[in-house]
Symmetry: C2
Subunit: 429 residues, 2 copies
């Protein structure tokens, strides 16, 4: 008879609820690959009389508990999958699990982005495994790919669509000419967006993911505060349209880049050339693009969320830990790459920018705009003066590559002027 | 001082020539991740007085030899990277390396596709590692992804652009309206295609890769003869154009699919809807698309060949083996998934088809075509009668989903008829 590996899940919600069925479905394959019988023994839930947990427990033969101590005190349980989300009590549960020698899987990006280093440290001390593949881009095995396959490469830049909700909204706005508000309300009615969509539309969720991707790509621990975040709230249909005329699609990208040994990360709407593979990532799908010195360009595409994709990533973490237990090689970090964290100053972060301004429809305005920008050392790739409504005109500029500091200077000088109103400024890929 | 891990490379050609510099460049990271100092000691070459090997050996401080015995007899050497290509002497070198307890890395798709099971068996007996990530889609870590990350998933279908040369040619034909001959001669002048392009344009190279992908995706060993191969030789500009009018791009796809526990694999031109992510895989790039029950849709995109991407994949195999040596866990197969091989009969392989026929420009022809197809139980999604040259007319049909056997019946009945000439028949995604 094969060795038994007993596990517990915390939470039977969207992700946790998918785990029992997946375990059952892949029983034979898991047993073949790991050499062990993986058994789900217990699930922690808020209310063990609720229909869904009761149904699942009955169908798949595990025990329900409302008390975390039942899990922590169960010596048989070797792996705990935290699928509750949020900071507390998840953080305490993970800490206590690791401290009592249990390996941990989590899909909790908020927690890993904010308290990852602390938890990784405890895992290391306890010689426990801590895996969190599902925390970034749900069904895409991007963390494992960076950690296992791109380890012999130098990542120079990693950027991508890591928030499905906003990508769904941007796809609607582009293809169906919806307004921001219409797109949001459709995302909400389909369950892609929360009733308070702040985390998604203001780029906070994407920033959490970029913290983790930065850690894997460059071995550096940045915090979510180090990331400039601009969301898509209030993004205008006319920006999407002008971008399209110029050959671009607007996507909310998270990006992190290495420049001379220092890192910069940001989240914001970016104009992506329409022939770029990220431009074809539509609806709620995610895509992560990597520029590296060895492989060159690569992209990893798949669903960013959803019960089955996320639960499948949790399962692949589970199999990895099971193999490690079998081979007695637990306690190695998910990401072994570590370097001193250095942030790139704004003077050394370069990009092309899309700048849209509104000016009174009178002579000399274009001259004034170009003078202010030239003073900041900015030169132009494309300028487009759009039709005036009789009172105001809209001018759209795509710059050559300039520094973030130069872009800041331009913004300040526009603000100081009476006539020039900056409507939007986005990076151009 | 850290433990030393000594390696040898066989061949310093396109791929092998890239290894010494990569090892040097990533020395610190490799040492951090594996806990060992990896040292390249020897390289096997045909002529050790040639300029490139001499130059490399001098720059990176390793020994050149023309005699494989120098490597096999060197007890220090633990890993051999076979980067010669072709069947012999590569096969013998790999066998002898494994038999003398050395771990092996290879980028040799022809060899793995034809003799993989034999070599895997020897590796297993010897408790040695045998890795070959670079053999499929050069810089894309697709084998490791299937083996590590999609192990908790059920792949239903895997298909993609796995030959860069033909994808380059098809991109030229589409975007620059080149003929097949012009595209081929450009690919040859850029070094993407050999002077004898048979392996690429007739789909043989893609078929080798599908043998390996089938093994990883479904755990089944099929042979290259089990794969229906149609290449792009003689593909007509007008097919590309009509496909475009109908909203498709023609790509040479390798595909393998699971139907009720049996597998079918083929290589051929396929009409890909232009909004599908594979449609945006251009030039010499590769893309592998996976449909699976857990993750749903995912895609892995990157360069399929080239010195640096391929050498980078070889390096990631090297690091994997180094970690295994350190943890004393060598001898596990690259792919642990194994099932009895069963082939799907043609009656159970379903697809939509694009069918182009030429008929004399006279009354009743369309009726005859549709009658023959209806007799085979085929129904139609789109029919397009194209302008006649006065003598002959061209009719293009896209069918509803039919079996491969039905499509064979249609082909036979067209052949038996005097008037209907089948010009092309391709699958539609």
């Amino acid at each position: 008879m094969k060795q038994r590996l007993t596990i517990a899940v915390l939470g039977l919600g969207t992700v946790g609820g998918g785990v029992p069925a997946l375990l059952e479905k892949h029983r034979e394959k898991i047993s073949q690959v790991t050499g062990m019988e993986v058994v789900l023994a217990k699930a922690l839930v808020k209310d063990k009389t609720e229909e869904k947990p009761v149904q699942l427990a009955k169908e798949f033969g595990f025990e329900l508990t409302e008390n975390f101590e039942d899990i922590i005190n169960d010596k048989e349980i070797q792996i705990v999958a935290e699928l509750i989300g949020g900071i507390e009590p998840a953080r305490t549960f993970i800490k206590r699990s690791l401290e009592s020698g249990k390996h941990v899987i989590t899909a909790n990006k908020d927690l890993i982005a904010q308290f990852g280093p602390e938890l990784v440290q405890i895992a290391k001390q306890q010689k426990c495994d801590l895996y969190y593949e599902a925390s970034v881009a749900g069904g895409i095995p991007i963390l494992r790919t960076i950690s296992n396959s791109l380890v012999a490469d130098s990542i120079e830049k990693i950027y991508g669509i890591v928030n499905g909700t906003t990508n769904f909204m941007l796809t609607k706005m582009l293809l169906e000419k919806c307004s921001y508000e219409e797109a949001l309300s459709e995302a909400q009615s389909l369950g892609f967006a929360e009733s308070d969509p702040t985390n998604d539309v203001d780029g906070i969720d994407a920033a959490y993911k970029m913290v983790i991707l930065t850690q894997f790509s460059f071995g550096m621990n940045i915090s979510v505060e180090d990331i400039d975040k601009v969301g898509i709230r209030g993004l205008k249909a006319e920006d999407i349209e002008v971008a399209q005329q110029l050959g671009y699609v607007i996507k909310l990208l998270g990006s992190a880049e290495m420049t001379d040994g220092s890192v910069s990360a940001e989240v914001g709407p970016v104009l992506v050339p329409k022939y770029h593979p990220l431009a074809s990532v539509q609806n709620e799908m995610n895509g992560v693009f990597v520029n590296s010195s060895g492989v060159g360009e690569s992209m990893y595409y798949g669903p960013g969320a959803g019960e089955k994709p996320t639960a499948t990533s949790v399962m692949s973490d589970l199999i990895t830990i099971a193999k490690n237990i079998r081979m007695e090689t637990t306690g190695h970090q998910f990401n072994l790459f570590n370097q001193e964290t250095k942030l790139t100053p704004a003077e050394s972060i370069f990009s092309k920018y899309y700048v849209a301004v509104e000016v009174p429809d009178q002579q000399g305005m274009l001259l004034k705009i170009t003078r202010l920008m030239t003073e900041a050392g900015v030169s132009f790739d494309q300028i487009l003066q759009q039709q005036s409504d009789g009172k105001n005109a809209r001018v759209v500029i795509i710059t050559h590559e300039i520094s973030k500091a130069q872009m800041e200077q331009v913004k300040c000088s526009f603000e100081a002027s009476e006539e020039i109103k900056l409507k939007s400024s986005y990076r151009v890929l």
